[in-house]
Amino acid sequence: MKKSFFTLEHARQLTEDTYEVVLSGDTSAITAPGQFVNIELPGKFLRRPISICNWTQDALMLLVKVVGDGTRELVRCVPGTEVDVLSGLGNGFDPALAGRHPILAGGGIGIAPLYGLARRMLEAGLPFTVALGFRTGKDAFYLEEFAALGCRLLIATEDGSLGTRGFVTDCIRNVPECDYVLACGPLPMLRAVHGLPQLTGGQFSFEARMGCGFGACMGCTVPTVNGYKRVCKDGPILFREEIVW
């Protein structure tokens, strides 16, 4: 964990409610894809947790969906705005444990951490497929960025306006050799993916309302097979075996 100021470089609108936000600053506390940052916003008491979509030594990329005042304010910041950020929070994905045919499964804004994960897995020479789900084609974003990675990319939309008609789970089912998942998305999606019989293991990224984001307040704890865990510190990534719904 590191507390430092980042400078907002730009906020670029991707869909009606989703933005790419790039911040420059010291990213040295970030150790794994799937970690998150906790951002202070003027006028808000609690920080806002946002997954790290990607990072370099001196820049941080986030994908932000506007759902309330805090996210709205964040994407409205003008370039040059200084933002107080706690960076390098949470455990992150561990691609080394991802088996032989992993699939990176994301739903909606949940695709954010998968991009950084995919880049790290490419760099490490690990094989993988990416499956992204959206409500409709209009809600889809970051397709070109994922496509540019050169990995296998599957897309599902609920109305069939783009890719497979249906859910991410339908994509995964279409890749029968896939036996491991690295997943992030809304709870119903995680649950559906978790239940796929073809999987022998997986890592799932969870959300929770957070007080601190660094393990001190017990605000975010959830039951697991191995006892209560703090989503912010022991997670946000939980392993398939330990998840209790």
Binding site: M1, K3, E40, K44, F45, L46, R47, L86, A208, R209, M210, G211, C212, F214, G215, A216, C217, M218, G219, C220, T221, V222, P223, Y228, K233
Partner: protein, 305 residues
């Protein structure tokens, strides 16, 4: 040089700033951020006899200038704390520790405190009779002067350590509870715990917290806490730890002027893990501005005018 030392019922603290119970765990997470030895003390997470899982999710909601929590005293239980956390605390903090003690019966409070009597690092017992997030069937011990006095007596009977009773603000007259604790032998008081509050999620039309209500803390409650510290300072002779909404060195000074001998900082730590460290570093400058070279002179300073 400003002298920041204070004494709390005979326990010397290098400065009056104490992270408040429930916002500092058992110190582990903050020790990764800074050297805890800058602190006057810290109050560990409210600990009960049995391990507690706490309330279901969500447990946290935001409010204007504050937050609600309904953690529900999640803790590993007193034995585990003494076995596992206490030795670890010895590695990360070398000052006197305040042990916040929860309980659901007189017997449990007494048993918890008895166990702590032998723990050397624990210098003060802070007995939480005010947690709004646990349902012990009926009101809090802290809502009634008789019950508050009973807990005080039960605890005092089993320990030689100074006992501070932690009071709830959710009462008609906090001075009545404070006096009852003093008469029952309390060595000090800590106030306030959180104000009972709630939020509703407009989308789901349901209470935002699974527990429905939660405890309000943060800057929003500062004026309420300050008023109660003032009133209790006039009502009792034992020292007061002032708590509620403190987030700057100026707030801490204001709390001391109202009557606090020491100051706990809660929610501010969650927003900024370095909050206590920053406050401590700013204290000498604030004292200088106020023209005092011994910080303890501030205590109750606004009463004698």
């Amino acid at each position: 040089m400003v002298n920041l030392e204070i004494s709390l019922a005979g326990v010397a603290l290098k400065n009056p700033i104490i992270p408040a119970s429930g916002t500092f765990g058992y110190g582990r997470e903050y020790a990764e951020a800074y050297d805890l030895d800058v602190l006057g003390s810290f109050s560990w997470k409210g600990t009960t006899a049995a391990p507690r899982l706490g309330n279901p999710q969500p447990r946290i909601a935001e409010t204007p200038c504050g937050m609600l929590n309904a953690v529900g005293l999640q803790n590993p239980g007193m034995d585990a704390v003494i076995e596992t956390e206490v030795p670890h605390i010895a590695e990360i903090f070398h000052g006197p520790v305040i042990a916040n003690v929860g309980g659901f019966s007189l017997a449990e409070y007494a048993e918890n405190c008895r166990k702590l009597d032998a723990v050397e690092q624990v210098a003060i017992l802070e007995v939480n009779i005010s947690c709004p997030n646990v349902h012990a069937g009926g009101k809090n011990f802290g809502c009634d002067p008789k019950s508050a006095a009973e807990v005080t007596r039960a605890v005092k009977a089993v320990t030689n350590k100074p006992v501070f009773m932690k009071l709830t603000p959710n009462v008609t007259d906090i001075t009545e509870i404070a006096r009852a604790c003093e008469e029952a032998g309390a060595d000090g008081l800590c106030l306030i715990n959180t104000l009972l509050g709630m939020r509703i999620d407009l989308r789901t039309r349901r209470p935002l917290l699974a527990n429905r209500t939660g405890g309000l803390s943060g800057p929003a409650v500062f004026p309420v806490a300050l008023r109660m510290v003032w009133d209790v300072y006039e009502a009792v002779k034992i020292p007061i730890i002032g708590c509620g909404g403190v987030s700057s060195a100026e707030d801490a000074a204001e709390m001391m002027l109202a009557g606090a001998a020491a100051v706990e900082v809660g929610a501010a730590n969650l927003k900024d893990p370095y909050a206590c460290k920053t406050i401590i570093e700013r204290l000498p400058a604030v004292c200088a501005q106020l023209g005092v070279d011994t910080i303890s002179e501030l205590t109750g300073g606004a009463h004698h005018g």
